[in-house]
Amino acid sequence: MTIDNKFLYLAIILSPLVSSIIVGFFGWLIGKKVSHSLAILGVLISTIGSYIVLYRVQFEGLYFNGILYNWLTVGSQSFSVGLLVDKLSSVMLAVVTSVSLMVHIYTIGYMAEEEGYQRFFSYISLFTFMMLMLVLSNNFVQLFFGWEGVGLVSYLLIGFYIKRESAIFANLKAFLINRIGDFGFLLGIGLILAYTGSLDYGVVFSHMSNFTHAIMPGTSWNLITVICLLLFMGAMGKSAQFPLHVWLPDSMEGPTPISALIHAATMVTAGIFMVARLSPIYNMSHTALAVIIYAGGINCLFLGVLGIVQNDIKRVVAYSTLSQLGYMAVALGCGAYSVAIFHLMTHAFFKGLLFLAAGSVIIAMHHEQDMRKMGGLGKYMPITYITMLIGSLALAGIPPFAGFFSKDMILESAELVHKLGLPGGGFAVFTVYTSVIVTAIYSFRLIFMTFHGEERFRHVDNHHGQDDHGHHAVEPEESPWVVTLPLILMAIPSALVGWFAASDFVSNKILSGSVANAGWFVTNMQEEIVPLKMVLEGFTHIPVYLALAGILIAWLFHKNPKWSDKLIKAIKPLYVILMRNYYMDDLYINLFAPIGRAFGRFLWTLGDMFLIDGLIVNGSAKIVDWYSKILRKLQSGYVNTYATFMILGIIILLTFCTRLIFA
């Protein structure tokens, strides 16, 4: 049986949308059960479809680039909503839909008690749709549509708890920061359109080479660089690159499934995907790539460090996401786009897994997220523990887990760039290597604090209120199967996917034709990757030991809690800086926002109210009024005065006239 391809694509895209709409509008009518079944069905169809597509693309050479309908015509140019099914998009499809499916299932358990259950399902289905639009688009407009669409859903979901002040603050922040990125993104699209006359990927790529040495009119900047940087600005927003990263930690205000799906596995990687998708353009600008390296490097190391000082379980994972996104960005900057995508994929699985597991812990802890109040949970919830351990190992890059392969590739790429003396190479090497250890520290700090040691949750804490006394009499227990099943299903690829995919990604076989790795990468990475060999060789390289050292440090600190106190005291100022996120939040919240408001108030009161309205509009009215009051006095009431005025009139006219006569 063969399914018509176009129908298949449509089914993939539209089934989440349809289920989202039905659940969204009629959720109140059809009840929770039908709602979640529908949502899951929608995503399931997508997932199955995606795998079929992936299969056909990879093994049957399927390629589709066509239009669905004509979106807009301007002059002689027309823009259509179209689909591009190639290797890159098929891979992304598979990743997105499978994580999404897992999250859908997981949500049944996680959200069971929550208000707005149907709304939640509607949102995540909608998200899936938007993400698919983003991934499958064959042009910039549609890309932007999906781009902003996922942003919207992210906004909605971060603020899912609409009554919670911190949540609705976080979602606004997330949206606005993203908008700053999109500002650049849109301008980049504008430049592309202005120069190539099209927004279709294919056309743009083919035309772009004409502008290799073009410069921006009125400046001395290289056009392509400017375009690349503007577009990357969008990626910085979406993929939370420094300094537009501040929204991501706050986004943890959303329910945990969302953190897994949107803020770890899929949406935040859209920036990475976009750069990979546009690799032909980026390859033309070394400057842009260098900038990406620097941005990624900063993320990778400096934001990773922040993960160490966090106590909120989700925040630790969130900072780790930032750090990993930094890895991907470095890979992009090194021209190793396929590697970035590889890391994207592995990261999607293990980071999704970590979040889901964290969620499972949170359920068990009755929505307590502070790790200082956990500990020793390993024996109560073994599945969660094991899966999370797998995730952490993968994250830390311990062979043979998936993360090892992708991270190792990135390290190699960085080294390669350094070796070739390309700009940013040194920085890249320094940051990626250092952050290997950082990664291990924070991920295992999390594991130890949560699952090992003292059962701190038994301490009586009063912040739950008086009527809640003794609620901890119930032991923490393993989450229901709808929660653990996704954990297990995610743990499998987290552990294994590297084995199967590593070589294909590095040789770019899996993405060939849609992602063009930089020339130096292609020429220098020609050797065949054999996973087993790689794992074995891994133990001869430094990174693995760095990671193990990190784990060791985490363990030592775990065993000697006083060490950390001492350390904190020793580096107090640094600690404060770290705790305050390098003051980046303050920069936005306490500097930019007030300045913007003050500026607005200034313009309003001075410009609008005082100058335009006060002086000009009401001022002229007042002048007329004033004149009116003066001139009415002419009518004094004395008839003689009236007569005098007439006589004066005559005299004026006469004088006027004599001038005429004698002129």
Partner: protein
């Protein structure tokens, strides 16, 4: 070519007007008045829809032409017709009126007949403005609109309504009176005709062009409104009743933009080219400056009013972008799309605020909070419109802005740079307001007693939401009919008509 036995345009114009007059005399019977006005509005909409469907997108020039002598002693002809540029506005106008009338059904309890009648008259007048091919017909209806609007703001407005109504009236009258002189002048220089298309062919000296341009600027910039002459809008909107704000924002402002396209650009193209820098600067000031001003507004309607100014900045920006001799097609078409879209979005925003106002009787953002918990359906609609207002792709708000920004990159990158700041600022003021109003804890008893949208409100919001999404997802539907018109306009403006003495 087109079936025009019925004088469709005349019908579209006069059916609502006559309905309005009938309603006026329906007098005391409120329900009868409501019934007739709904019928009138829907009839108008159906007629305009027929026109729209019959409209031949590939035909260059005007269609459904009607030309009868009206006032021969002044050479005024009752000359109507639509082309690609006016077509969408005609439809928009009649559509919005339907929503406004429905929105007013339950809310308006005093002077029902007068209220509905004023709106029906407005519709008819505005349709006529969009259809007029004779400058004087245009002018007559252009000004006639002031009367019902003045009454609408003044009678059903809130506390400061008198000031607002007066300001609105005089502000707009100032511009239009100057335009009147110019039209008369053009009448003479183009050998005694008020035909707008005859004006296009009249050569003028640069000085004359600049002066005419300035007069037109006052007429249309006030309506749009552009930056330094905008202050009537933030006063008129908050004071006007919901329906008034909807019509004002959705259509009346568009007449300014339409006037620019119909009069300013083709009649004095050389002046337009020469002064385009100034106009663009003013537009950008409107976008950025007003954007910032919007952020700090405490009154929801005032905020949306300011945001309208900011969005209309895109219209003027798009209209005055040139690439060499030619108007920038992208930007120009974007300007039109932006107008249509803003018509839907701003009407919807005002409707939303009106819905809340009817329940709490306050427009202050500070008096709200946590509306979503009490009115989930409403909150969803409001979210959609807020997103559209901040230009989210997939909603109509995006398309126009996108096109104008794309166009301005082609002219000068820096223009696009400033224009694109609306992405940030627009989202900031809209969503910040949304956050303060809709999200959060319910913290006062007024909000606590709010009930979700009723049927009439639902219908209105649904219609608008449909339009917003339809236009965002498939703008081609709207754009297709205007292609030829835009092309004609670009060609018209590309010609110089400089008369060198």
């Amino acid at each position: 070519m087109t079936l025009n036995l019925l004088n469709l345009l005349s019908l579209t114009i006069w059916v609502p007007i006559i309905a309005g007059i009938v309603v006026l005399f329906a007098g005391k019977n409120d329900n009868l008045a409501r019934f007739i006005s709904i019928l009138g509005a829907i009839a108008g909409f159906i007629l305009s829809l027929i026109v729209y469907l019959q409209f031949d997108a590939n035909f260059s020039g005007v269609q459904f032409e009607e030309n009868y002598p009206w006032i021969q002693s002044l050479n005024i002809y009752y000359h109507l017709g639509v082309d690609g540029i006016s077509m969408p506005f005609l439809l928009l106008n009649n559509f919005i009126t339907v929503t406004v009338i429905i929105a007013g059904l339950k809310v308006i309890k005093s002077k029902v007949a007068l209220y509905n009648s004023m709106f029906l008259l407005m519709t008819g007048f505005m349709s006529a403005v969009f259809c007029a091919l004779d400058a004087m017909v245009f002018y007559v209806f252009f000004e006639a609109m002031l009367i019902p609007m003045y009454l609408i703001i003044g009678i059903w407005g809130s506390s400061n309504r008198v000031y607002a109504a007066l300001k609105f009236f005089l502000y707009t009258l100032l511009g239009s009176l100057l335009m009147l002189v110019v039209l008369i002048y053009l009448y003479y220089v183009s050998s005694d005709t008020f035909e707008i298309f005859a004006f296009y062919k009249t050569p003028l000296t640069m000085l004359a062009q600049v002066l005419i341009f300035i007069a037109f600027f006052f007429a249309f910039a006030v309506k749009v409104p552009m930056w330094p002459v905008h202050t009537w809008l933030p006063d008129a909107h908050p004071e006007a009743p919901t329906g008034g704000s909807m019509v004002l924002a959705a259509i009346t402002l568009k007449i300014g933009g339409y006037g620019i396209l119909r009069f300013m650009l083709p009649i004095v193209p050389d002046a337009a080219r020469a002064l385009s820098g100034v106009m663009i600067t003013l537009s950008l000031i409107a976008i950025v400056y007003i954007g910032f001003v919007s952020i700090v507004q405490k009154d929801m309607k005032r905020l949306v009013a300011y945001s309208s100014i900011s969005h209309m900045g895109f219209v003027t920006l798009g209209s005055f972008l040139f690439v060499g001799q030619y108007l920038n097609t992208w930007a120009l078409q974007g300007a039109i799309v932006q107008m249509i879209s803003h018509g839907f979005v701003s009407a919807a925003m005002f409707m939303c605020i009106g819905v809340m106002y009817d329940r709490v009787h306050s427009r202050n953002i500070a008096d709200y909070g946590g509306v979503a918990t009490k009115m989930p359906i409403f909150a969803a609609f409001f979210m959609l419109f807020s997103m559209a207002n901040s230009g989210l792709p997939g909603t109509s708000g995006f398309v126009g802005e996108f096109m104008v920004i794309m166009g301005s990159v082609q002219t000068k990158f820096i223009y696009a740079f400033f224009a694109a700041t609306i992405l940030i600022i627009g989202a900031a003021y809209t969503l910040w307001m949304y956050k303060r109003v809709v999200f959060g804890e319910v913290n006062n008893k007024h909000v606590a007693s709010m009930s979700d949208v009723n049927f009439a409100e639902f219908i209105v919001l649904f219609l608008l939401a449909f339009a917003v999404i339809a236009m965002g997802v498939y703008p081609e539907m709207f754009v297709a009919k205007m292609q030829t018109g835009v092309k004609d306009l670009v060609m018209e403006v590309a010609n110089t008509k400089l008369l060198i003495k």
